[in-house]
Every structure is written in structure tokens, then in C-alpha cells.
Symmetry: C2
Subunit: 533 residues, 2 copies
């Protein structure tokens, strides 16, 4: 069965022209109603993932042991503490058994040894917990959906897990201003659904949408596939309520786009990964949801053509461009080999781009995207591709992009990096790394958010070994640092990258980060062993 | 002469329909090449402005006297200090005479008594100056274009003026990524011109564009007329270099949209009005400039219709909406009376809206705006108006909006407020205030950035008197506070509003603002008497 609403994009070059969609995607037995539900429908993701220092075993060894972590000078939990929390929250919300899901990170790389999970039901309860922990010198790790990729949301030793899961309400959505107020533990997808009921959309979209919490997104300044259109969360988040380690509630909420009354301290809690305070509530500016969404999946012969096509997309699609993703040949082929239900509409090109538009007028958008692709083909930059505005087919194409990271970790060990690089040097690192690793690596590939200069570099091999590890690190960080890139574009620092922070942050800045930490969390009880070493 | 490229918008209602542009703007002898050059071409703005506590005299009394300011415990400038600075910067860049322009604020409300202006030519020189001043306990006020409206950029007592005017270079503009790096003292309009040379635009536009500095804009988190499209500077500014009071250079520069390596401290310098550090350099994300710009100027019968039209604009114009301004009848009429060269295309309505679109395809935009206006007229929400895509005519319409604030201060005393309010209550305060003031006020009116919930409330009277003052304040702040609005939406706190900060910020937050100030400026030498009291 072919796409029912394929746009009729024709190659505009003269003789020998082929239609753009000569190999349309065929439908398969996989039918998902939401592209973000894919991770949920593909449970292998959660059980077989192995990362750089991880093992193939489903449950890793305690991180305190594998990483030789020196436990901080914190108090040790007593029965009296537990009784106190039971009195505060009620027994149902004080967990002391079956804590594995709270102790192990999403990638099964980090395993903590917490003996206690607390599930407060209000900001006041969060405040009371932290006040007590601060006085007792009990360390605490705040936890949202636990979908982070740098070990920021799990305990490293025996920190108390403070789960925000019960603070899950969307408090208000104003369809006129587009401003929504939501509790931190609300799942991103639920928040988005609520926004869509009144014609709005949450300006943040990422693979973990079905389980990550909006508070965790804000605490990690989560990126994703819409940053090219809506910018990052520092622009979208209008206000934050954060509980400090002392138990003080810092009310930085605002329901306005413009509020210039004093220091803009809310940004300290956006991206500090729960080390400065616990975000309990926030307000966010939500754009109107688009009436028309179109996706193009195109093949290109060189990275130079990729860059030219990106520039052309920015110029010609302008205000309707909502995603601009890159997948290289090896990344795509690995996914296609691993997941037979995937069908790529085109093949045989070294580079692929997924370009999405979202606009208020379907006809206009179709005309713009056809023009953009026609021009690109005429100039010989775009070789082949498919365009669709059919919602189901749009999801089919997004599925390809979303399965790429999973394909790489399905059957092999994978070194994964999330870096920002100057666009002109964006892809060089993949070639350089391929040469450095030689036959030691099975796949060296790159994909990611080209529109944001954010590359996901992946080096796969049969299994972890020291020889390839030494070829990869710290070279990749040094290389990124030389280009003044970011060694963590969107995943954060957490536990896994804290030793590499200095590659992207200068010593004066790191010094003031420490001062901020001391000021806001004087006993350092909040999310220890993370961000700063 | 009529508009040459008027869009042919027709009223879609059936019988008795009138064309939308039945009274097109006629050209006048005023021809400006840039609407932002208006303030420059209308020098009365700079010389006759009177504000709340000001006087009609061109040069006000020293603020230290009028406002009974207790000078801080700072050292007093000596000849030795001046000699030190002359050695450091060269005599040409150390000014001790004719300092009036540096001592008096744009609105002629504040007059400081500085005896020294320093004009460093590099970040290193800024650092050396501050290190010296910090050790000597000499107070310093950083100054950009000195166009602020809350007295934040002028000395209050005898602070040394640190002018950023020589740090005026655009260092790079990347047409592929849209990222520009610029020194703090670059004039906004110059920066924008440079960006436009490569097809980009600076996502910030405001009346003072021809003289304000981008560093000042960032330090005050300036708003303006494009926030509805591009958001505020916390989203657009990617990196900042700031010199601290100690002389340490805090390098928080980034040339990337995504950089999640540690705390996002740059935001502390965006909107803290030079009290935490001196911004010397920054990087900014610049969108591609739009190929088509259209402006509609429409008349409406009620504020309810204004709100409905705003919602319709967001839905129907969506991604191309770039400004949504409101002017009430009294505000417009005052401007028309004061400035005879202005011609409004329509009259006789209680409310007017200026709606601008910017997009990549003129035909599409024209179709969208026609549809939007046609629908609004059919529903009876829009009564009459003009639409144009002709650049000169676009400027003519913008001129009306830009002269509104000047009209109000041309011949009378004016209490001016810049507040954020919930949209549903947006205009009520104007009616309430009109009733409170009765015949004491000559004009009580409202205009501003409706798309950002930002109202400029103005109360004019023959001359300042205590009776009307007491009717206006603190009522306006109490009213705003009750609605959880912001008592300073875009102008900042500076000197003039520091006593009212508590109406919009809670005590815990103000406490931590003080702690931040202590941490970053331990001797409190940077911009004293501002923001915090």
C-alpha cells in the first residue's frame, strides 16, 4: 500500500528526471498510534542496552564498587528516619522494598544502593522532607521519570530517592496566552495531550516523552527534536517553583512572557540536574498546535550537500521548519538490519535528512516544501526522497529516525557521545574516529539534530575493550574542546560526564558553579556525585 | 497619494460591506528611511520629556538631593585614581569634563554627579578597571546607550561611569547557523544591519534601536515589539562574557544552541542591570530575515473583540505573526493631536491593533492575513482597517505606534507604568484608573504589547501634583500584585522601581537575590542604589 496523501513532488531537472517518491514506504505490521510510544512498544530497549562501561548483564554491579566511589560524609538512614517520613507522608508513600527500578538508570549503566524512596504529594511535603534531610545530613537524589542518559537521576551510593511522581497535575492551561502551569511530576506526553485539548502543544518533544517528567525535562534542560523551531527551555519556561535543600520554597513562578523584576534566578534550576534545588512546579509557554505537519525524508551524496540543504531549508521553509535531523548511511543501515519492520523509502545514499514542517495552512506548507525540494534536486543537492503530510506516514518516517539509536545498541557494545560542533566541522569527527578505530570498531556513525549542531557520535564494537576505549577517549572530548564545542549538548553532565566538564567550562566558571552550589545547598545533600566532582 | 501595494482585503460580510482600506494613509512630508530612526528625527523626544517625579526644566536637580539618597560607604575619587586610569586606558579615554550626557538619564528624571567616565577598549581593560575599583572601593555604573527608562544606567551619586561604547564590534556572523558574536557596546541597529547583510535579523527590535547597545539590551533583558515571535533574550542569547566586580572574566560564551555542561549562569547577567557583572561580549541566535512583511492596522469596538482578534491572529497567522500591538482611542488621539504629520487610516474606534506578519513567502502571507481579516470582519470583531506590504507604508503605520508614547509626554506630565497583566484583565486597570483620577487627569490611556500581555498604562495631567500621585500610587502596584502581574514587564527595576520590587517578588527570592549580589560583587561596587534597596 502506498502513501495515500503523498505530495506530488517532482524532480525539476530536465532529462532523466525521476520522481522524488519512486520508492514509497510500504506499510508494515507495526502500527503505532504515537511515534513516542515506540520505546514502550519495543521493550528490548529497556533490557538489552549496554553502554561504554556497562556489562551485558541485565542488572549491573553497584556503581559505588565499579566506579570506586568514595561515599560522602553523610548520615546513614535509621529506622527512626523512616518512621519520621512515614508519619509525614503516610506509609503508602514511603518505600523500602523492591527499589530496583529507582536504583538503576535507564541505560542500566548506573546502579545505586538506596534503601528508601519517598513520594511526596505536595510542595509542602517536599519542603518538609528536605528540611529534615538537611538537618540530619541525609543525601537525596530527586527523581523524575528516570530516563536520563548520564546517570543523573539515580543514587550513586545510598541517597534517599525523592520521587516527584505524585506531583503530576496540569494545574491550568490558558488557550488565549498559551501559558500552562504544571506540576513537576507530570509525564511530558500527558502534559502535551492536555495542551492539545485546547489547541496548544508543548514546545518540547523527545523519545522518552511517554515516561519522562516535565520537571525532569526542565531540571536537565532537555533538548529533543523541536529545538530548531521553539528553542530551548530557557526560552519556554516562564516560571519555576523550586524547593531548596534547606526546605525553603523559592517561588519564581510567573504567568507572563515579560517579567523584569529582579534577577532571573529560575534559570539556575533549568539544567542544574537537581543539584541546586528540586523543581516542584513550573509555567511554560505553549505555542498553538499546527494544523499541518509534513515530513520529507531525503537522500544526499555528501555532507556538503547536507549543509546546503539545511541552509536552503532555513531560507525557504523559514517559519514552518520544525525539525532538521541527519542520519548517516551506517546508522540507517544498522537500524534497518536490526529492525526488519522498518522500511526506508530510499537507500544507497551516504546521508539522509528528515525535515519536518509545521504550519497553519497545509496548502501553503505543501507548496513551500515542494519548492524547497524541487530547487534542491535541480541544484543536484537532493538526490531522492519522500514527502508526506499523512499523519500515519509522518509517524512511519519518524519511526526510522527514532529506531536509529536503538539499532546501534541492540547487539553490540556502543560508545555514545552527544556533542555540539560547528556545523562546518560537524561530520568530520565521524570520519576521523572511523580512521582511529579501524577494524576494532564494527560501526562508527553519526546522526542527530543537525538543525541545532548537535551530533550523536556512536562507536560500536563487539564488546567493550580497553584498546578501543583508549582510542576513543579522551580524544573525542579533546577534539570537541579544540573546536570550542560542547561535550554534552543535551544530555547533561550527571554522574557519567562530571570528570569531563572542564573540556567545555572554564575554571573561573566552574569555580562559581561551586560557589552557587555552596550558597543554595550548603550541606551538599542534593544529588551528590553529580555535575561537579 | 495612496498606498501603491495595498493588499486588496475585502470585507467578506454580505450587504453593506465596505472595503477595509477605505481611508488609506496619505503620504506626508515626513519621510524616514527606518522607523527606528524616528526618535532621532524627532528631537523633542530627547528634550521635552517629563516624567512622574521630574520637572519641566531641561536639566533636573541632582538625584542625590531630590531623592534624599544616602551615599554608600565608598571611597572618593582622587587625582591619583584618575592618573592610574589615564595610564591604563590612555588620556583620550578618561573623561573628566562635559559629563552631563553620562550623568542624566534618557527621560531627564535622574541626574548623577559622576566626575569620571572611563571608556575601555577591551575586556582586559574592563577587568583591570574593575579590579582596581574593587580594591579601592570605588563605585561604578556600567553604561551602554543610556536609553533605559528606570534610571539604571546613570550614576545616582558620584559613581564612576564605565562606558562600553568602544566595545562596538560585530565579531562574527554565521549565516549557516544564524549565530552572531558581538561586543557589548555595539549599537543594536548596527548589529542588525550587519546581520541583514547575510540574510539574518537580530530577534530584538525596539524604539531606541538607533542608540541603545546590545550589551545594555542583554543586561536589562530588553523586550520590544518582536517578543511575540522570537521570545525574550533568555532564549536568544547563547553565551555571555561578563567581567565581575573582582576583575575576574567569567567566560560563559557558547556558539551553540545546545550546551548542557553545568549551571546556566549566563542568565544571571541577562536582566540584572549591571549589578552582578559587566557584560562585555555575547553570542546570539539570529533568525533569517523574512522576505515578506505585512502590517494591518485595524479598528475594534470593544476589548472583548480585541481579545478575540488576538486569539484568531495566533491561530490563523500562527508562525508568521511577528507583532501584536494595542493602542486605545485616547492614546491614538493624543498622538494625532500632538504630531500633525501622522495620519491614521481609520478613526472613531475605541481600540486599534497593529498586527504584523513576517514570512518567507509573500503570497502565502498575504492570503493568510486576508483570510484572518476577512473572518474577523465577518464575525463583526474587526470593524475597519488597512493592510499593506509596501515597506514604506509599513513604516508609516509603525510610525503611528511609535509616536504614541511621545504624544503623551509632549505637553503634559505623565505617570507611566509598564506592567504585565493577565490578558482577561488586561485593560480593566485603565478604566479603573480613569475612574479613580476623574477630572484630575487629562488623559488616562493604555497601549502596548498585547501579544505579550504587556500594558503601558499612562496617566497624564497638567503638571505633577500630590493629589493625583496618591490616587495612582501605590494603587497601580497593589492592583498589579493582586492579579499576580509584574510591576515591570520589560523596563526593569533600576533606581526608580526598587522600592516596589516586593510587589512582584517574594521575600525568599529577594533574600537570595541579595545572596547572589554578595557572592558576585562582595564589596557592592557595581551599580549601587539599583534593583535592590
Amino acid at each position: 500500500m502506498r502513501f495515500q496523501q503523498l505530495l506530488h513532488v517532482r524532480r525539476l531537472a530536465s532529462a532523466g528526471a525521476t520522481t522524488l517518491m519512486r520508492r514509497p514506504i510500504t506499510t508494515t505490521t507495526i502500527t503505532t498510534t504515537s511515534r513516542t510510544a515506540l520505546a514502550a512498544t519495543y521493550p528490548a530497549f529497556a533490557t538489552t542496552v549496554r553502554t561504554m562501561a556497562g556489562s551485558g548483564a541485565p542488572i549491573p554491579e553497584l556503581t559505588e564498587i565499579t566506579d570506586n566511589v568514595q561515599r560522602g560524609n553523610y548520615a546513614t538512614l535509621t529506622d527512626k528516619d523512616v518512621a519520621h517520613f512515614e508519619q509525614l507522608l503516610g506509609k503508602n508513600f514511603v518505600l523500602t522494598e523492591d527499589l530496583e527500578g529507582y536504583n538503576i538508570c535507564f541505560l542500566k549503566r548506573i546502579r545505586g544502593n538506596s534503601k528508601l524512596v519517598l513520594k511526596p504529594g505536595s510542595t509542602a511535603e517536599v519542603a518538609a522532607i528536605l528540611k529534615y534531610c538537611n538537618e540530619r545530613r541525609l543525601a537525596v537524589v530527586p527523581q523524575g521519570g528516570n530516563t536520563g542518559l548520564v546517570g543523573g537521576s539515580v543514587p550513586i551510593c545510598d541517597e534517599i530517592v525523592l520521587s516527584l511522581a505524585r506531583l503530576n497535575k496540569v494545574l491550568s492551561v490558558d488557550e488565549v496566552t498559551g501559558i500552562a502551569v504544571v506540576e513537576a511530576g507530570c509525564i511530558l506526553e500527558n502534559f502535551d495531550q492536555r495542551a492539545r485539548e485546547v489547541g496548544l502543544t508543548v514546545p518540547l518533544d523527545l523519545g522518552a516523552k511517554a515516561s519522562c517528567h516535565i520537571g525532569g525535562n526542565v531540571s536537565t534542560n532537555a533538548g529533543g527534536v523541536r529545538v530548531v523551531r521553539y528553542g530551548n527551555l530557557h526560552g519556554s519556561v516562564l516560571g519555576v517553583e523550586a524547593v531548596l535543600a534547606t526546605g525553603q520554597v523559592l517561588d519564581l513562578m510567573s504567568n507572563f512572557k515579560k517579567d523584569n523584576t529582579g534577577y532571573h534566578m529560575k534559570h539556575l534550576f533549568i539544567g542544574s540536574e537537581g543539584t541546586l534545588g528540586v523543581v516542584t512546579k513550573l509555567s511554560m509557554l505553549c505555542p498553538h498546535s499546527s494544523r499541518a505537519v509534513n515530513v520529507a525524508f531525503i537522500g544526499l551524496n555528501s555532507f556538503d550537500d547536507v549543509l546546503k540543504t539545511f541552509v536552503s531549508a532555513k531560507r525557504n521553509l523559514g517559519e514552518i521548519l520544525s525539525s532538521c535531523e541527519l542520519i548517516d548511511e551506517r546508522a540507517l543501515n544498522t537500524a534497518l538490519e536490526q529492525f526488519k519492520f522498518l522500511n526506508s523509502p530510499i537507500s544507497g545514499f551516504p546521508f539522509y535528512m528528515l525535515i519536518e514542517t509545521s504550519g497553519s495552512n497545509g496548502d501553503h506548507d505543501e507548496e513551500k516544501i515542494n519548492q524547497f525540494i524541487g530547487d534542491g534536486m535541480e541544484r543536484g543537492e537532493i538526490q531522492d526522497g519522500t514527502v508526506t503530510g499523512d499523519p500515519g506516514k509522518v509517524q512511519e518516517i519518524w519511526k526510522i529516525r527514532e529506531m536509529v539509536p536503538l539499532g546501534l545498541i541492540e547487539k553490540s557494545f556502543c560508545f555514545k557521545y552527544d556533542i555540539s560542533l560547528p556545523l562546518r566541522d560537524f561530520y568530520n569527527i565521524v570520519d576521523v574516529m572511523r580512521e582511529r578505530c579501524g577494524p576494532l570498531a564494527t560501526v562508527v556513525c553519526g546522526y542527530g539534530h543537525l538543525g541545532d549542531s548537535n551530533l550523536h557520535l556512536n562507536v560500536s564494537c563487539e564488546e567493550f575493550n580497553d584498546e578501543i576505549y583508549k582510542r576513543v577517549e579522551p580524544f573525542v572530548y579533546e577534539y570537541t574542546s579544540k573546536l570550542k564545542g560542547s561535550i554534552s549538548a543535551e544530555h547533561g553532565i550527571g554522574f557519567l560526564k562530571k570528570d569531563y566538564l572542564h573540556y567545555s567550562k572554564d575554571p573561573v566558571a566552574i569555580g562559581y558553579m561551586r560557589e552557587m552550589k555552596k550558597l543554595l545547598d550548603p550541606n551538599s545533600i542534593l544529588n551528590p556525585y553529580k555535575v561537579l566532582n
